[in-house]
Assembly symmetry: C2
């Protein structure tokens, strides 16, 4: 039975982001999830897809993205049906995105069991990842639980939200899964340090597992406005009219995250603490932390990069650019197309400022 894939398993890849903290590598025309950051030949969204091989069949992989990225997604994920690429006419945060795809999937298979994941994260231990995902899918196939994956923190990261687990309250049917006590916004450093010291805090990975009835019911309760919009579109899902009606109605949705809309309100919220080498690779600094470095601590992407007296830098070019860097310590040198950025790694939170037109 090793090759058996549960036909109810569905994967939803949310790929509408613009990765603005990764400028200039990531641009609104070609954001981070579609880029081969590590120079391995696979982009983030392709790596995301790859790590579900054997767990979800390609026919059950869904991508929600912006209209402008439709062609990139088809090109990068040629094995998934074109009809599974759902296009948002505008950005409305994660709750409307998840509502749309949930109603869409429910129309096709009311017994669907879903994993929702961002398109642009990194997982290094895919074997453990698959074990966790399968275990969680098993759990949600039998319960009405909303499950989030909580990452064991390895440092007092202030760039992530945290999930506080109630470690006394393991689920009866899966001893690895616990009730959530509370969700915590991105903390300051002191608070983050406290979280790391205590055992019950986990990074919020933004990866969710639930069956489709559970999320649809939760949205009906907590976001009746959004729910009504997608409920009304039931007759058109999978038809020629779908995109046109979505274009008309999607913009009417409130812009709200799934965390605010559902997670922080619902009752049956669980966390699955896990440790599979996860990073959201949200910043140049995080890339520097996880990517291979040379003996001077430089992370280099590019086919023709030469460094002299240079250390602790991220040097990143996606082209056949010849780059010579001498005498830099702790800088980002990032070049893409018509843009070049040189800035201190410690100043990378200002990249939005730098990239503003």
């Amino acid at each position: 039975m090793g090759d058996f894939i549960n036909p109810n398993n569905n994967l939803v890849i949310m790929a509408g982001g613009v990765g603005s903290r990764f400028w200039p590598m990531s641009t609104t025309d070609y954001p981070k999830q579609f880029i081969d950051v590590f120079g391995t030949g696979r982009t983030f969204i392709q790596m995301t897809y790859d790590r579900f091989k054997g767990v979800v069949s390609p026919d059950n992989v869904w991508v929600v993205t912006s209209e402008k990225y439709a062609d990139i997604v088809s090109e990068q994920l040629p094995d998934i049906p074109k009809g599974n690429i759902l296009l948002e006419p505008c950005r409305r945060n994660t709750a409307p995105c998840i509502a749309y795809v949930s109603w869409r999937i429910k129309a096709k298979n009311p017994k669907a069991n879903l994993v929702i994941t961002p398109a642009d994260h990194l997982v290094t231990d895919v074997v453990e990842f698959q074990r966790v995902i399968k275990s969680a899918l098993g759990f949600t196939s039998e319960t009405d639980a909303i499950v989030t994956l909580g990452m064991t923190p390895t440092r007092p990261e202030t760039g992530y939200g945290y999930i506080q687990a109630d470690l006394q309250e393991a689920s009866l049917s899966n001893k690895e899964i616990f009730r959530v006590d509370s969700f915590k916004e991105k903390p300051d450093l002191a608070t983050a340090k406290e979280y790391v010291k205590k055992k019950e805090f986990y990074w919020n990975s933004g990866i969710f597992i639930w069956n489709v009835s559970t999320i649809v019911n939760a949205l009906r309760i907590y976001e009746p406005g959004i729910s009504r919009i997608f409920e009304n579109l039931l007759p058109v899902y999978g038809t020629d009219k779908e995109q046109e009606m979505i274009n008309k109605n999607f913009p009417l949705c409130e812009s709200i995250s799934i965390d605010y809309a559902v997670m922080e309100k619902a009752e049956e919220i669980f966390v699955f603490p896990a440790n599979f080498g996860w990073s959201d690779v949200g910043t140049w600094g995080s890339l520097h932390t996880i990517a291979p470095v040379d003996k001077n601590g430089n992370n280099i992407i590019g086919n023709n990069v030469r460094l002299y007296e240079t250390s602790n830098c991220v040097v990143h070019t996606t082209e056949e650019k010849r780059v010579v860097v001498q005498g830099l310590d702790g800088y980002i040198v990032a070049e893409k197309g018509d843009t070049l950025l040189i800035c201190k790694l410690e100043e990378e939170q200002r990249i939005k400022e730098f990239s503003a037109e």
Copy 2:
């Protein structure tokens, strides 16, 4: 008579260099003399040509360059006759270059009076420059003197050769022109400081003035081998055979500079001390010294360059590149085509190393 141009006046622009210290802006495919370094719309060779307007008629402007730059020269100097662009099949330093063009000009006009200049220098006071050039040409039209222009040093520059004048020995016919005592190689800093303190040392600009008989005779005496080659070609100058015969014979010339071949040996050598805002713009540092800087000492060429907390840098891109630099002090950031260089200004003498394939 303000518009009278002496028809014997000829200008020779030596444009065969590769400007390796200005990499990556200057490349062997498109070296420094053909680049609009200051973003003014005129390249070095064009500025060189421009500053002789009214002194030498376009028909008497000659360019000696490499075969591979023939088209660039025609394009950048459309007003000079194509036949005046002399093409060296290989590099043999300045003596063969000057010998070739001198025999070539002499075949056309034995009374020619020449200014020889590199293609890639900067002169800021063109009015004074023209006064000096006209005065020197007047002098060499009546004497067999070899005149060099000596620049009043403004700093103990170790990148230039120096000319020691005998200030007791002004020429009788032109009180601004002195006999040369000796030529000095590029000095070390201590020696350069001494030179600047004394009054009789001048930078060797590499600009020479002489009549064509004088230089031809001097070459016959000091470089009989080279001279014989160009003497033998007298029947073909200006004919269809010229390039073919040059291609055959030019490579036979000894590779030697005009300074070694003639200047340091001949008797009637004079220096015309002058001060017209000259720089050979031989390095990024010299560009930084002479080009306009912003209030933080940054010299910026590029249409879309933004600097944050950056000072004393040269940021140079010849393209419509968007460049953001944060947190650099005293660096070169130079980008051209498929190459990007970032290095400390104080390390620029290593650019040849950096640019090696």
